[in-house]
Amino acid sequence: MNDRTLRLALIPLGIGVNMAIGTMVYMLKLPIYLDAIGTIIVTLLAGLRPGILTAVLTQIIAGYTINPVLPYFIPTGVAIAVYVHIAARWGAFRTLGGTVVAGLGLGIVAGLVSAPIIVYVFGGVTATGRSVLTAYLLSAGERVLKAVLLSGAAAEPLDKTLQCILVVWLLNAVPQSLIRRFYNGNFSETASPRPVVFPLSFDHRPVVQGIHPVVRGVATLFGIAGTLMAKEPVFPLFFWLGILVPLCLFTGLARKHIRMVGGVVLPLAIVLVAVWGVLVGAPPGAPPGSDPDGGVRYAALIALKLTVLAGLFHLCFMSIPQSELLSTFWHWGIRGDYLIVAIGAFTIWPEFKLRAEQILTARFARGLMPDRRLFTRFFQLPYMLRPLLVWSLRAAVQRSEMWGQRHLLDRLGEMRHTYQGAWISNTTLFLLSIAWVGLQWIKNP
């Protein structure tokens, strides 16, 4: 075991912590985010690069399992990791006061970075409580970006300060013998010899998939680019009903897609129409109340764009069979340590979900949750995070020991993959995506 394997083992677990807390917050129906705790912990324990990887992969995987609009907040996650790394260098997390100040600063940074995304991708509105404030500011005649920034400044620092305090509190509760493994970074070098070179046949693992991984990736990127360029609601509507829905039916994702549209996009669409059509009564840029129809049209465009973006993302990842995940990443050119982190991150979620549910169950079974009221559940959350974090750190240590002892990383790196599949579906998909971008290009040069 060495430094490298321990860091690699920690990243997927950091992602798991992020997602598990997200799920716990969701299960307990709490009015906060708490979505970056794992990112902060990994940045503090393992450094900047692992922190950034954790942030990026969390948003991608949360998009794949929880809410398909989250991947567009990758820049926010990266900013959080960078800020925490710098703040930790300055020793901000050593005292409670320093932690609070660092948390407030983190909130401002997160608000600044996510504001342009909220404005340009989501039309200024997310399905959270702060949209009420945004809408109020918009109806008072503020410009969109300023309104989003102001409402962010009101909501983000509170959430992020809470997260920073929670992280310090959690790390203080980890047994000393365990946390010491992570602190100074130079872990004891063990007898970890290079593997014996057996006459390994480079058995190429054939992939039998309808779509070549590269075509899958390129088509998704073109799809996203074309959608972001669209200026008229009719194009995303056509793309959604004519292409995405049939593809979802074909790949067996129709049910999940309907659930996503109904659960995530529809509430957002209602808020959008309410804000732009009723409260503001005009599309952005026009004076409030001057053009209610234009406001509704703008709301419809954003809602349809979101449906398509979310659907594309869903389709890209959800339709990969678990058994082809490894070869898909390999074909996408993800190699070395990045392949290990990516595959670890995509594999860990079912396990983490299981652990989070078990902890909640244990808390009930031990009579430590006296009732099921929201208030009780809210104040019980930190106590449930403790065993989850300790389990994660212990698992990281044990896994990294095992990877080193068995030379598993080398074994994974040496695997080769080949592709077998029909060229018709690949070409069709590729041409479709080109046509989509081309159409938008002609319409809005």
């Binding site: 075991m1 007898a191 390994l200 678990q322 595959i343 009930f364 079974a365 430590l368 002892q405």
Partner: protein, 427 residues
């Protein structure tokens, strides 16, 4: 095997007669140093001088499988098939392992995610994977006891005969006496000390005769009437279940994995809500959903996820404190349970800082401390040696005599025989 000095006595001397053996099954109590030794021969621990075993210079892999089997899954493979192909590439044991996969039923699980398998399935998978590496030394520590009895002979057959000629296998387990098909077992030398951290912990043996100031009034009868339960989108796990249980008798709950043992326990302690049917305590209808964990206490198989506090005495006292029990009464209970489980001198230690065996005892003590009239204990003997298991059986009998209703889930035939209870078979 390698040379390490422990208390000025080289490990080689203690294990000299074992050096030439291809397979050895170690028998010994908890904290005898066997885990340390198994980790040492696989290159995870150093000797007293900070050196790793010299044998590893010949650049061969080693493999150690510990009691926390869920952490012996690599976490690098989305499916069982990938986990196998990472480990088994270019292996010299391809034929033997292919046959083993078939007989252990792993081929039916190829598309599953390895982290979601049950404990026994994970243990079998990780064992096949470790063998696939063709390791120089393979150490199997308290893993076999999690595998169900029907598969054990297959594994012993493969390990003890000359199927894996390039690998030395060392096996340590608490239930070795129960297994059929083992040639012979070697008792760990009693005076072997290990420099592992747990040697520094002041651990006492269990004291089943310690006074126990818990309620001695008779628990009410527990009755299930037409209980139905199924998980969303799933088939019925429990269908029209009728059961009448009286306290003062030990009940042992048996059945294969997935037969609904833990689901029944969760319904009784209020984690899940039945779809139909009633639970009666005495003559009164009881809805555990409304006051979870109050009248039926549940001890989980995995202790790590049910420990929440920063020191052992707080952990044991947390349940009664949350129920509003008076502070002096809580203190008495905690002291008594600490003595009962041999933890008196460790009360200030972080529960998660202790080894697996002790964490299991802490979780048991914490469940009993709540004073629920009915208790369900899931695999209480996991990782515990024979002496401790006997003491645990005595504790169960004592609680029973004090009027508690006891339901025990256990795979160990020895423990079930000690309890001599009424069997409830789930199918």
């Amino acid at each position: 095997m390698g040379r390490a000095t422990v208390d000025k006595k080289p490990v080689t001397d203690l294990f000299a007669p074992l050096d030439t053996r291809r397979f050895l099954a170690l028998h010994g109590p908890n904290f005898s140093g066997r885990s340390y030794w198994l980790r040492f021969i696989t290159g995870l621990e150093t000797d007293m001088d900070g050196r790793y075993t010299s044998e590893l210079r010949d650049r061969r892999s080693c493999a150690y499988i510990g009691p926390e089997v869920y952490n012996a899954i690599s976490g690098l493979a989305p499916t069982v098939a990938d986990e196998l192909s990472i480990h088994l590439r270019g292996t010299r044991y391809a034929d033997a392992l292919g046959e083993m996969q078939e007989t252990l039923g792993l081929n039916a699980l190829r598309e599953r995610n390895p982290v979601t398998l049950s404990g026994g399935e994970q243990a079998m998978l990780t064992m096949v994977c470790a063998l696939g590496l063709c390791p120089l030394n393979l150490a199997i520590d308290s893993t076999i006891e999690q595998i169900s009895a029907e598969y054990r002979p297959v594994i012993f057959q493969a390990l003890t005969t000359d199927v894996f000629p390039f690998t030395s296998i060392a096996l340590a387990d608490n239930r070795l006496g129960e297994y059929d098909g083992l040639p012979e077992t070697t008792v760990i030398p009693g005076d072997m000390g290990a420099p592992a951290p747990q040697r520094l912990l002041p651990i006492d043996p269990l004291d089943p005769d310690a006074p126990l100031p818990l309620s001695t009034t008779q628990a009410p009868n527990l009755q299930l009437k037409g209980l139905d339960f199924r998980y969303p989108d799933g088939p019925y796990v429990i269908r029209k279940m009728d059961l009448a249980l009286t306290p003062g008798r030990v009940y042992t709950l048996t059945g294969r994995n997935g037969a609904g043992k833990s689901t029944l326990a969760k319904l009784l302690c209020g984690v899940l809500r039945p779809d139909a049917g009633r639970i009666l305590l005495g003559d009164m209808v009881y809805d555990p959903w409304k006051s979870p964990g109050r009248l039926v206490g549940f001890h989980f198989q995995n202790p790590d996820l049910q420990l929440f506090s920063l020191c052992i005495d707080q952990e044991i006292g947390a349940g009664p404190v949350a129920q509003g029990v008076e502070a002096t009464i809580v203190q008495d209970r905690v002291n008594a349970l600490l003595r009962l489980f041999g933890l008196s001198r460790m009360r200030d230690i972080h529960p998660l800082e202790t080894p697996f065996v002790i964490r299991k005892r802490i979780a048991l003590a914490a469940t009993i401390a709540m004073g629920c009239p009915w208790l369900i204990l899931d695999e209480p003997t996991l990782g515990q040696d024979d002496t401790t298991s006997k003491a645990l059986a005595a504790i169960v009998h004592r609680l029973c005599d004090q009027g508690f209703g006891m339901i025990i889930v256990s795979h160990s035939t020895m423990f079930r025989n000690l309890l001599n209870g009424t069997e409830i078979k789930m199918s």
